[in-house]
């Protein structure tokens, strides 16, 4: 959108003609002011020693104390490592599946079958995290779970405590994520594939290219820009691992492996009531996330000419 030059006259004209639009804006602006900007203002407690009795501004200014405390904490490296590990593992494993799925579905000639495949593979996206983790708990439970029963048949002990023992945690987390988001993630590639010029395929076919060659030399290059943008975006969110699923999958045994920044912030803040410390950790994470997103957006802009903003 081109921004026009504003002067007093055009401003007055716009205000007069469009006053209703500002009324329309109002609810959203109030919402964002209350739930986004007011908390941003509250970030300052990261630099204070917040005490309920002293109130917001009465609390002592302590500078970077809480950041230092976090960086010196023995768990700092562990948590940082967990956050990056789970995120990069999810990226490496989870990224190719939607693309493969889209390429495969795109080659299905039977439209009804294609639609059916889409409906089924999108479905897990609509299951809540609670239900997903609940399903995993039941199906992967030691002895009585269906997975262990099957493993028992093929001669394994069938006694694996997949949802409990720490060495399985990350695999369970990542692969359940693949299961849930693979189909939904393919939509964007399906859209890109729908834009591929059919005459290219026709020409290649006449020139004797087989299907695999056509996929490889026509389909894949056509969706390459989308792939690149999606990949770069994912890099931008590499430090933001949400707490919802991690928190549900955590137990006493796997905390060492499963604790990520967001869950640590939640526990430190709301369960241990260390408001300032936890805000500082959250701020540290937000700032890194923001820098990553901005950087990646610059990269996308360079490559494709248009970024997120």
């Amino acid at each position: 959108m081109k921004t026009r030059k504003w002067n007093k006259k055009t401003i007055m004209k716009s205000l007069k003609r469009n006053w209703l639009l500002y009324v329309f804006w109002l609810p959203a602006i109030i919402y964002i002011a209350v739930f986004a900007y007011a908390p941003m203002y509250g970030i300052q407690i990261a630099f204070r020693d917040y005490r309920f009795a002293d109130g917001f501004f009465g609390s002592e200014w302590v500078g970077l104390k809480w950041f230092k405390k976090f960086f010196d904490a023995p768990r700092f490296w562990q948590i940082l490592k967990n956050t990056l590990t789970v995120s990069i593992y999810s990226l490496v494993v989870g990224f190719p599946f939607p693309i493969i799925l889209a390429l495969v579905m795109n080659n299905m000639k039977n439209l009804k079958y294609k639609k059916f495949a889409q409906t089924i593979t999108y479905m897990p996206h609509f299951i809540s995290t609670v239900v997903l983790v609940g399903m995993m708990h039941i199906m992967f439970s030691p002895r009585s779970g269906v997975i262990n029963t099957i493993l028992g048949w093929i001669g394994l002990s069938g006694d694996y405590f997949f949802m409990g023992e720490p060495q399985y945690y990350i695999h369970m987390y990542v692969w359940s994520g693949v299961w849930q988001s693979m189909g939904w993630g393919s939509i964007i590639y399906m859209a890109a594939l729908a834009g591929v010029d059919l005459s290219l395929h026709e020409a290649a076919r006449i020139d004797g290219a087989n299907k695999l060659q056509r996929v490889w030399y026509i389909d894949v290059p056509s969706i390459m820009p989308t792939i690149c943008i999606m990949l770069i975006m994912r890099f931008g969110s590499v430090m933001s691992v949400g707490y919802e699923k991690v928190y549900l999958m955590q137990n006493a045994l796997n905390t060492q492996q499963s604790e990520v920044i967001s869950t640590y912030v939640y526990k430190m803040g709301l369960l241990n009531k260390q408001y300032s410390y936890s805000t500082a950790i959250g701020l540290f994470n937000s700032v890194i996330n923001f820098i990553l997103v901005v950087t990646m957006n610059k990269v996308v802009k360079k490559l494709s000419g248009s970024g997120l903003w």
């Binding site: 609810p27 919402y31 007011a38 479905m123 399903m135 994470n285 997103v293 901005v294």
Partner: protein
Amino acid sequence: MADKAKVKRKRMKKTWDDWAFDIITNAFLVFFIIIVFYPLWFVLMASFSDPVHVNSGAALLFPRGFTLAGYKQVLEDARIWRGYGNTIIYVLGGTLIGTCMTILAGFSASRKDVFGNSVLIKLLMFTMYFGGGTIPTYMVIQKLGLLDTRFLMCILGSFSVYNMIVVRSFMANSIPEELYDAATIDGCGIGNFFFKIVLPLSKAIIAVIVLYIAVAHWNSYFNAMMYLLDASKESLQLYLRQVLIASQARAGVAASGEDAQLAEQLAEAAALIKYATIVVSTAPILCMYPFVQKYFVKGVMIGSVKG
């Protein structure tokens, strides 16, 4: 004539590599479909089966020892209905408020030549990438006295800048500027333009937004966990978390200890109820979804095109 058909058939005949390609891609897709669908099918089937058969692996594909005992237990469980009722309130309230906010703001954002629009959009978009964080948000909500209120459960997360941008892209791209010019020349104000022309043309995007907000509200548990204290307001997902996960984690930890036998029996009895609970809580969304799938997909498509 026959010759022509022969030639055509010859040309259309698949070579062996195309056959191989088709077989492999079909195998892939069937594999994906089974992997995705089987767990869902398993839960549905297990909810109707005698848990003994389920646990022994005798009922892997079809129900065995048909029973409605699990559903009976679930239906008698007052807490799940309370959770259901609360969630319906939160979903309805949140969707109504959120859709109005999103559509109104999205329309305003889609208009050109509005003083301040670009600044407002930038201010809103900034919050997509940077926020105050968990604790300051909590404190603001506490200060406002919104802790433990149904109003908060409705409103929280009902507006998202992403959805607003989806609306803006839709309106900016699908409603021609000429329409606005024509309407205003005929003396129609911007309010009339919105209610009489834009809204009727935006049914599809309204459906997208309604569904997005409703599903997100239905499925969220963390806000309820964080901001609700009173059990009588608990949402369905919060209750599910207790039934499905907290109890399971405890049973699992116990199973690795001494009371393995007892824990196993307990787990077996509880499993049936859990399957039934999952079906009862998830069925509304999964049954509705195939019929409105196109709207969800549309939302993703519009969202992927930068506005």
